[in-house]
Subunit: 372 residues, 2 copies
């Protein structure tokens, strides 16, 4: 079924955004600037999957053969991040935590390094820029890395963002732009809070399928499912090694671990499990994350373990989100999986363009009808 | 300097107990039953070292050559635990979480098993009862133990207690006995709250030396120092192996770990560091505890990690607490280190006897003047 062109495409109407996470608030903020009168509705604004994100802006190191559409979407959104961050900070009056440094990738054993070599081959075949590092260069970039790590990759165009600083900036910017954030659960699109909206954006992550109900049986958004990701937050202690400057991604005996710097520490992620809506953090998950993180950066053993948490990544069957129009009143922005923070600028631009009746070509791979 | 006999030894006077932990409340409860009018003063009652205890009642498995006095004190207090618990539960109207099962001790590698053999030798030389277990017996007692653990010890007379259930029961029993718990910091023994007390018990853990100040330069209690112990609380999840029935102590490549059952999970401890009053929980500490716990009981990997915390054990130079009279008004009950929960019944009995002017012989090794 093709997308139906909107009957209401004029800015100035009333817009309800269901979902107050990075995606929902980014859409709300940009839509308010475009002239919409916006309400964001969420039972726990800012406390869903966005709250436990790593915040990597890393389309290349998240790239896997067969996921070229996601690589392209992510790269396009990464290009939009600097100006998005600049606008947001000016609008919010506070920093959003965008880093200035790229990613360093390392592998612990020979199998891990062979896997990285395949990644390099793939990225180069996709025309991407990857720098191969020798022993000296790896330890010059990140002196805290284990001495046994003798080679690596540098992907200098990637970035990271402090997800909680970003959420705070988005909350401030939306508030200043006149967006009302309503802390309430919504049962469906016929809820009283949604009733009189001219347009509705569904950005409710794993809650999206239930919100949509059975009305759009061909829409891919009904296929969004929760994938559990466990993360740890570590804080620097006096006497410990400095916080790394780059995002560090590593393969440790076949297991993937990432370390994303914050001003006062590191976020370590992420195990991934298909586990329904269970957000308990398991002994095995934390054990592996801590062991792998300290195998890569041994000095982390002296950091403080501040928090362990699990988030539910709203994941689509092909890893690509659903961004676009469902009918003349409902637009989707969901299913971003592990890449919600990365894809926020592109998603916001695409949704606001869609609301104005002028879809963005770059968002075409995220067509919500692509599975029908 | 010898202890000065009390000028005020009659029950019915006003008693101030400085410290609302397991020791302070046990003393307060028993003293109230003996006729004293009791105030307990603590800035955070129930939230000090007692809150993050493992709750092992394990004088034998805590026994080390050269620490015979502690072994004897602990064994004496363990004998008093069943009636203490019975009285407490009747007085509190709620359970105090005393277990019915003993300790199983295992060693992972041959070095660990050699160390356990030395422990057995030592305990037998001390006339203690230890049962040596073969492969079948170990796994019959605790089916979740790793298959590689092929021998062990059973110490069936040991017990454990749920430290938080115990604190709740003590709070209730003291309240019902007319004890007032005042939530306030005390600067010293000349504080207004202490001023008009006939007798003062100092049970303030690591805060004891500062409370005493420079007035008793020969008293060992001034030598109490904080030793940091990190613990984890794991919760059973559906589908995981059952919670173990016994306390399990293990040596894992020379590192000691214990698993103490709770009704809904397990407490894992404890790293030990001399680290001043720092209670941050380190990445290295949690990493080692999780790895060691799951090496012993692999099914724990599926438990939930609920909490990580560090407590400051008030530790004396010889591991033996300070229980006894400092002068005609001040009695000490501090420096219990890792054994505060175990030693609570004996300490309470000894302090109440001391208040009545009839010191208990069993507490003699804990003489506060033994270092002068």
């Amino acid at each position: 079924m093709p997308a139906v062109p909107p009957s209401v495409d004029r800015p100035g109407g009333r817009l309800v955004v269901l979902g107050g996470g990075v995606i929902g608030w980014s859409v709300a903020w940009r839509a308010a600037l475009a002239g919409w009168s916006v309400d964001v509705v969420d039972s726990r604004p800012g406390r869903g999957s966005s709250w436990v994100a790593g915040g990597m802006l890393a389309p290349l190191t998240e790239g896997h053969p067969g996921e070229e559409a996601l690589l392209e979407l992510g790269s396009e959104s990464l290009r939009r991040w600097p100006s998005f961050a600049g606008d947001l900070e000016a609008a919010a009056g506070q920093p959003c935590g965008l880093s200035a440094e790229g990613t360093v990738v390392v592998g612990l054993d020979s199998g891990d390094r062979a896997e990285l070599a395949r990644t390099v081959e793939y990225l180069i075949a996709q025309g991407r820029c990857v720098e191969i590092l020798d022993d000296d260069e790896v330890h010059r970039l990140e002196p805290g890395l284990a001495p046994t790590l003798t080679s690596g990759l540098s992907i200098s165009q990637e970035r990271s963002v402090d997800n909680r600083a970003l959420l705070a900036a988005l909350r401030s910017a939306t508030y200043r732009a006149g967006v009302r954030t309503v802390e309430r659960a919504v049962a469906g699109l016929d809820d009283a809070l949604v009733g009189d909206a001219d347009q509705v954006v569904v950005a409710a992550g794993i809650g999206s399928p239930e919100l949509l109900g059975a009305s759009w049986s061909g829409a891919g958004a009904l296929l969004v499912r929760p994938v559990k990701g466990e993360i740890l937050r570590l804080r620097h202690r006096s006497g410990a090694i400095p916080v790394p400057r780059h995002t560090i991604r590593a393969l440790v005996h076949g297991r993937s671990v990432y370390l994303v710097p914050r001003s006062d520490g590191v976020v370590v992620g992420a195990t991934q499990h298909e586990a329904g809506t269970d957000t308990t953090v398991t002994v095995g998950g934390v054990r592996d994350l801590l062991a792998d993180a300290a195998a890569v950066l041994p000095g982390l053993a002296e950091f403080e373990l501040v928090e362990h948490a699990a988030g539910l990544r709203p994941t689509s069957p092909d890893g690509v989100p659903f961004i676009g129009r469902l009918d003349d009143r409902v637009v989707l922005a969901t299913g971003h999986g592990r890449n919600g923070v990365l894809l926020a600028p592109l998603t916001a631009d695409a949704v606001v363009a869609e609301l104005a009746g002028t879809p963005v070509a770059a968002a075409k791979p995220a067509d919500p009808w692509r599975f029908s």
